[in-house]
Amino acid sequence: MIDEQTIEPAVSDGGDSSAPALEKGRSFWRRPNVLTGLIGGAVGYAIGHWLGNAIASSYQEVVGNGENNFALTLGYLIATLGWLGGLGILNYPLAKIIGLRPEPKYDEDRRLSRYFRYNLDHKVVGLQYLSAMLVYFFVAGLFALAVRSELLSPTRHLLSPETYVAVVGEHGTMMMMMMTSAILGPFGNYLVPLMIGSRRMAFPRLEALSFWITPAAFVVLVSGLIVGGFPTGWTGYAPLAIQAKQGQDAYLVAFGLMGTSMVLAGFNIVATMVNYRAPGMTYSRVPLFVWAMTITSMLMVLAAPVLVAATYMSLMDRTVQTALFDVNHGGSSYLWQNLYWFFGHPEVYILALPGFGIALELLPVFARKPAFAYKTAVAGMVGVGVLSFFVWQHHLFDSGINPDMRPVVMFTTELISIPTGIIYLVAIGTMWRAKLRITVPMLFILGGLFNFLLGGISGVFLSDVPADGVAHGSFFVMAHFHYTIMGGYIFFFIAGIYYWVPKMLGRRLSDRIGKWHFWLMFIAFNSTFLPLFAVGQLGMPRRVFQYAQALQGLNVWVSISAFALGLSLLVFVYNLLKSLIIDDKKPIEENPWQSRGLEWMTPTPPPVDNFRTVPLVVSGPYEYGTGAGPMAVFSATSATVAEGAETR
């Protein structure tokens, strides 16, 4: 993907002899890399499994059902430790603990192999995240196609009942869990330092660690299918989770690992945004995308630990016979629901906010106007973030919780529409009397806003307790969250890819194929999910393999559209492979979208330390039409890096 030449900026770097010596480092094969990580993982699994057998083989439960959940869980956990150790992630902290003084080195390695090892450059981590997230997305999408194949008929069953719920669970968990960081991982990590004028992240080791946990979680989650699958869906409700076979351990461990990854990534971004802004980058000049990343990160830091606690409790119930969720021994079947949704609701805003961030970041560029009501936009995002912690019980409206809580939670949930509406206010204002450029990223932004509107409005139906009485647990909910998450978040994610790939990789994705991709995807997406609102309102619950015969027509339509949606994503894959790998590299414009953003004022691809000198920010990123000059100036004593930048 990256070749050795960088695109040289118009004004060449005079060569600063005072910069520290930058080294390439040892060869890929002589330092920790993914392969040593795999070895570490395998060894770790063996140790964990053996330990679990040694401890738990004689447990009554293990003897009775023949499955040693403890061995599998310990195996997964120690395998992850082994994987991380094999990658060399533990070297630095261990060295410090022992009392050595390891020196951090600048890593000027530009070889392709740097993407396959532990690397502290946030841009490398960003691209690692991007590749990984695309892999997880397509794997989860394939599971979805399996689900839709089964739902073609209410009577002919392709999959056995337990395989069906396991596949549904794999699809949902992989999408929701693995893709939580789909925008924050690739784009947050890559762009936040560039956008605030920083040369690094605050905690690069935490950031890289947060990435390398995700392949481990992915492998653990997929392996759950092999050991029997998990029957609870992505929501993991106990007590069914306690009853489940070994696949449930995979789900719980994977989710716990991803929760940890989220906390680490979150800390890093918040600290970076607060402390590493370049001089002149006041809070009112911080790009909306960075604000979205920061607020998302705060949500992750506060909500994900509750999830990790809940998965830990469920694992304990399953392995060492505690009874936290078992009513027969004093536990509660409500406890999991409350803990899980306390995380689960902020989780969906962890998904929505980065999407909004991309939308609000790109709209000014393609409207050639300032972001309308910038401060209100930030207030809106903060409002969404804060309110998201007070609404989780709307997932429990019919569960028998204290009835007087329901109007309260209905109130807070309805309230969230207000800050979410502010996002549309900003979009509308930015588009007012604009000079819209309908590029491929802009198409995806507009499509995403169209989809999210339908998703958000259906959310209002769900927040109304009596109307929720029909819709809860049905395909209406499914349509609601697919519209907001896939129609919104994923569309914005794809917009981000089309938009920032020229900066990250020095290549452009084909516009022609991109337009095909958009229209196919937009039409197929709506064709797939719009009928599901009706299907749910007509009485079909979620996660069922048998449904009323009368609904077969709609289900067949949806399944065929889902395959069309898969096809549109194949077009996307084709665009990615053709434009980024197969085609010869063409010289492209340094800043193809003529964006004012600070991230576009670096060479392509950016050097390890982003900016040769620390920029001085003199104006905001959205000053289109005001006649302001570039966003930042670079010190006159070193060479400038941006085309046409003025020096003073």
């Binding site: 003897v63 009775g64 059902n65 056995s160 029997g228 009853q243 492979l577």
Partner: protein, 216 residues
Amino acid sequence: MTKAQKTIGVLVPLALLLALVIWTFTWLIGYPPTVQAATTTPGEVNVTMQTVGTIGTGPHPEWVSYLIQQPDGSWTHSTVLQVPAHTKVHMTIQQYDTGSSLRNPLMNQVLGITDAANNGQPYGLWTDVIGHTFTIPELGISVPLPGIPDDSTNMCSVAPCAKSFDHNTVTFTFTTQGAGTYTWQCFVPCGVAYLAGFGGPMATLGYMNGILKVVA
């Protein structure tokens, strides 16, 4: 690298991935085999099944299980049964397992069937320990399969079980209506060491729950 080399470099892994996807999908749609009931006289079929305390083989040897007998007399480890529509189905179930009480004692009673018999004696209600039940909730049919005593000395431990081991033989007949697909299951909490007794084999096709295909 030339464009052609890059194209091959991309297509080969893609082809391998596609093969992996197809292989995974084939594995996912793997089902226990469908056993077709043998037609004796027109309008009537016979089905013989057995329930065992431990299957003894396969990935879960300690799980309870159903087995169905093929028309040629061999036993198949499956619970997917196919019978014709509008037909009398004469079921014979050999029950080789010990029993317990039911989570829901309603299933102590024979439901939806008028001529159930246990070891030749007609019965409508069983108050003793029950090994398993044969229940098709959608058709309203439920037959308790009495369990053998815990202190039995001649217990079968590996399926398929021969009639020389202690067992109870339950016979009953039901009539199928139009074509359709029905799930059936056991209602005794016999998933030992799973919460409420309904995990493990109870939740796995081929062991304690099954599919009845009624074909026109």
